[in-house]
Point group: C2
Chain length 249, copies 2
DNA sequence: ATACCTCCTATTGTATACGGATTTTTGTGC
DNA sequence: GCACAAAAATCCGTATACAATAGGAGGTAT
């Protein structure tokens, strides 16, 4: 319920019932809705496993099923939602193997990108990154976990963009989104994602132009995150409700 | 014209006009059609820039526009087709920068994967790869360029799959597909993609379990392919026709 | 002959309704 | 409490309608 509320909140902010905003801004509207759902997932306001019924979404966003389906398809291709043949869409619950694969991929790509980033980075970029890291720290301090998670992903994605390779940057973006899901499933409660000062240290290395050091640090950074997770195969479909809720007898 | 013919050929092979195959096999049909179009693009039977009108596709594949649009959306997300707001879909014509980015990405990921592949590979895998390489060589010999191109991409993708990392393998698959388009645009006529014996040599290194050597060879292999291309920004819309066709006066 | 402007056609984007199929849930009996 | 059956909910694919726009055809002026 509260999930729907938060979605509606975002929707009314932009999808003003202009009634006949028929076309022209159409694709724009789709983009906004896509981002709203995507953000809600990344911010862990929509938890893995949550079902996303088409009718409900059409109602919330005041859009036709056609549009919703298009958006859900896109999210499915990005692995943020899972569409099961006749059951509809639900927020993806990454398996343990997927989790390991995603982090292995991040390790390879993000680390490999660091030297390139160090070579391309400008003073202006450094300022922007510092600003992002600062906002992230503040969000953490004020307890806005959702925001902090999203900002952390955005930081890593922006970093990849600075390499100049759009293809790899887009890939990193997807990996970060999925990482957010992984944290939601396998992360321990207290410890969430990146350490607050890690990003600042990383920026320092990049500002110095020391790509190798940045690479090593990123390696360490990602390893630390992955190590903080407890990636174990969870119990199957019908878990032990009896065990969870004491004895039923 | 001939493009449509080849598409129809593939379509009738599977999308038999069962008339009311209404539902059930629906998603399967979609998958088949998706692959048909995807293959046609990768095999360069559909050239970059070719328009893919929805009506034409519905006619060829006997599918509704809704279904076609879904498939086109997917192809667009994989960068094989480009959808321009009110102009519809066309086979993507990669820019020079995209071409460089794709090859840089392949360099990083495929090379980085080689040690892992060498670690996981089994004798059975080696046999399978040898078989694939053989078929590719035969296709080259008999002049089936389209088939050879597709087999080459399939080889690289299968190789990535052997690393055990599904996420990175899927990414490599996309990169290979896009590479095919890049070859179509920037490749010289005679020289197409991988050298015939390169793949066999690579298999040897992997069979020996020498991941580092395989990595170095893959590096060389990809560099060679990229070097064989002439990746230059092509002239804009209205080039110098006067200069091309002698003096007009 | 060329350039520019207007109108028209073709095609896409979106919404909606419908039929069919499957999953999930509810209800009943043992 | 469990198994089975009926019912409801929901999704998937298709067909259709309509609005909106892009690109081209054609005409006109210089």
């Amino acid at each position: 319920m509260e999930q729907k509320m938060s979605l509606e909140e975002k929707a009314t902010a932009s999808a003003r019932p202009k009634r006949l905003g028929k076309n022209g801004d159409g694709s724009e509207r789709h983009e906004v809705i896509y981002r709203a759902i995507s953000d809600a997932i990344i911010k862990q306001q929509l938890h893995p496993g949550s079902r996303l019924r088409e009718d409900a979404l059409t109602e919330v966003f005041h859009i036709s099923r056609t549009g919703i389906r298009k958006i859900l398809q896109r999210l499915a291709l990005e692995q943020l939602v899972t569409i099961t043949p006749r059951r509809g869409a639900s927020v993806t619950r990454p398996t343990a193997k997927e989790a390991r694969d995603v982090f292995a991929a991040r390790q390879m790509v993000e680390c490999g990108l660091m030297p390139e980033v160090a070579r391309h980075i400008t003073d202006q970029d450094v300022d922007e990154l510092r600003e992002m890291a600062k906002r992230e720290r503040e969000a953490l301090k004020t307890g806005e976990q959702s925001t902090a998670i999203k900002l952390s992903a955005a930081f890593h994605e922006r970093l990849a963009q600075l390499s100049g390779n759009a293809t790899l940057a887009a890939f990193v973006g997807q990996l970060c989104s999925r990482s957010s899901l992984i944290l939601a499933v396998y992360g321990s409660a207290g410890h969430l994602g990146c350490e607050s000062h890690d990003h600042d240290d990383l920026i320092d290395y990049l500002a110095e132009g020391d790509g190798e050091k940045a690479k090593a640090f990123m390696n360490h950074h990602l390893q630390e995150i992955e190590a903080s997770l407890s990636i174990v195969e969870e119990e199957a479909a019908a878990p032990d409700l009896h065990q969870i809720f004491g004895m039923t007898s």
